[in-house]
Amino acid sequence: MPAGVKRVCLLTGAGGTLGSAFCQFFASRYQIAAVFRSRPPHVPSQRRWLVDPVTGSRRAAANHHRIFEIQSDLTKPGEIDRVVDMTLARFDRIDLLVNGAGVVRDVPLLDSDRFEQAFTEQLLVNSILPHRLAANVAVKFWRGRSPANLRRNRNVVNVSSISGLVVYHKGSRAAYGTSKAAMNFLSCAMASEFRRFGVRVNAVAPTTFPKLIPTRRVASAIVGLDRGKMSGRILVIRQSGNRYV
């Protein structure tokens, strides 16, 4: 692999606040396969580019670093296969998987039927799908490439939440927090299993963004984990600073 070749990042939740920011700030650093369901990231891609409304011209420099967008509802059968196949067909490899897709549903525990429905949905999107996607990449690409994985420092970053580490007594976030706690645990277990073929796994657990901390700080933390050597760690991001657990 020639030096200076951009790393390939498969990013889910690309249309969300964090995903959009990641694309905006780091499209120059990564070749990004950006997966979104219905709200695309507003950055240049094969389907959209930036224009100046006053002159009508393309802003050439701003359109230089394009993402490769993939529209997909990952809850649908066959979609994870399709997303991974498209990414590999486009870029030939995956160096970084960022599981950024997630849902938040506030439902009180005593509202039993709704709670169970919301809990099931959040477990699926926030815990099961990230695992399913990582396993799919591992089976299709990483499992038989230990030396290259180590050389390329390949890894997974799961976007969790501080709600998966701390029980908040305000709001009705029990289902959300539990789904993120499951994601934290899965991240550590995945790190243990993926070590066999040289792929690191970590998670970020930020507090509320952009209300309490800038979204860019969370996006930069993902890049920091990608560049590091740690595995099986959860990086907690608070107003007061970052720390690993």
Partner: protein, 255 residues
């Protein structure tokens, strides 16, 4: 700080964002956020609230409340009827527009129904007049914009066809995913409004803009939690151009 004359403002002097996104699938449409400078946006928001206070009428076809900005509109919202804004958008979209503009202020109550998937390739009727700006606004007191029915026998309405549609989201509460109220973008007219290909959220000071063609399918998506407000405007073109490009049967009369 002095208040600017909005009808003579150059768009370049009030735009905070000149990096608009041109989307090319499933049809060409433009999106942009943080469009105007914060000061100008605040003036638009205040004027929107002032104009809509108790003046909007219920439109059952769209389950929305609306009021039309008409001839002589002044103050901040006069910017949207200005020559500079009219020309900039027409040039960006690439349409040969007649001077006619329809500008509406729309309000969806929380829990409004889904819209229906449609393309906006509809007629628009106007009564011509001379204006400093060179633009001509709809005048519902003289003729119906949608049917051309005149209020007096001597009025001779002119038929045009919508050429471009623009939504400017304004005076909305903060939006978060799950709130609804987006404008859905669709592949075809038979799509389910709840299942858009893409969805443009109603975030204040952002814009959705597209050329009206037989394929510009879009719809309002039910707003579950909060109200949705927007300034909506249409540019128009000669019917003959539409007939030449897409055929007479592509024009959908307002039912």
């Amino acid at each position: 700080m002095t208040t600017p004359r909005f009808d003579t403002l150059r768009p370049a002097s009030v735009l905070a964002n000149r990096r608009w996104v041109k989307n090319v699938f499933p049809y060409t449409y433009y999106t942009a956020s943080n469009v105007f400078t914060p000061r100008i946006y605040q003036m638009f928001e205040s004027a929107f609230r002032e104009h809509t206070n108790g003046r909007q009428q219920y439109m059952d076809k769209h389950d929305t409340y609306g009021v039309t900005l008409t001839r002589g509109v002044d103050g901040p919202l006069g910017f949207f009827a200005s020559r500079g804004w009219y020309r900039m958008i027409a040039r960006l979209v690439g349409i040969k527009a007649t001077p006619h503009l329809n500008i509406g202020l729309h309000h969806h109550e929380p829990g409004s129904e889904n819209g229906f998937v449609h393309n906006d390739l509809n007629p628009g009727w106007f009564v011509d007049y001379e204006s400093d700006q060179g633009t001509v606004l709809a005048q519902p007191d003289l003729c119906s914009y949608t049917t051309g029915e005149a209020t007096k026998a001597e009025i001779k309405p002119r038929r045009t066809i919508r050429a471009a549609a623009l939504l400017f989201y304004v005076a909305n509460p903060p939006w978060t995913p799950g709130d609804g109220g987006e404008t859905g973008i669709y592949r075809q007219g038979s799509d389910d409004p709840e299942r858009p290909l893409e969805a443009v959220p109603p975030i204040n000071n952002s814009i959705l803009l597209f050329e009206c063609t037989p394929w510009s399918f879009h719809s309002f998506i039910q707003n579950r939690r909060t109200a949705r407000n927007s300034l909506v405007m249409w540019w128009h073109r000669e019917p003959a151009e539409v007939v030449r490009r897409w055929g007479a049967d592509s024009i959908i009369d307002y039912r």
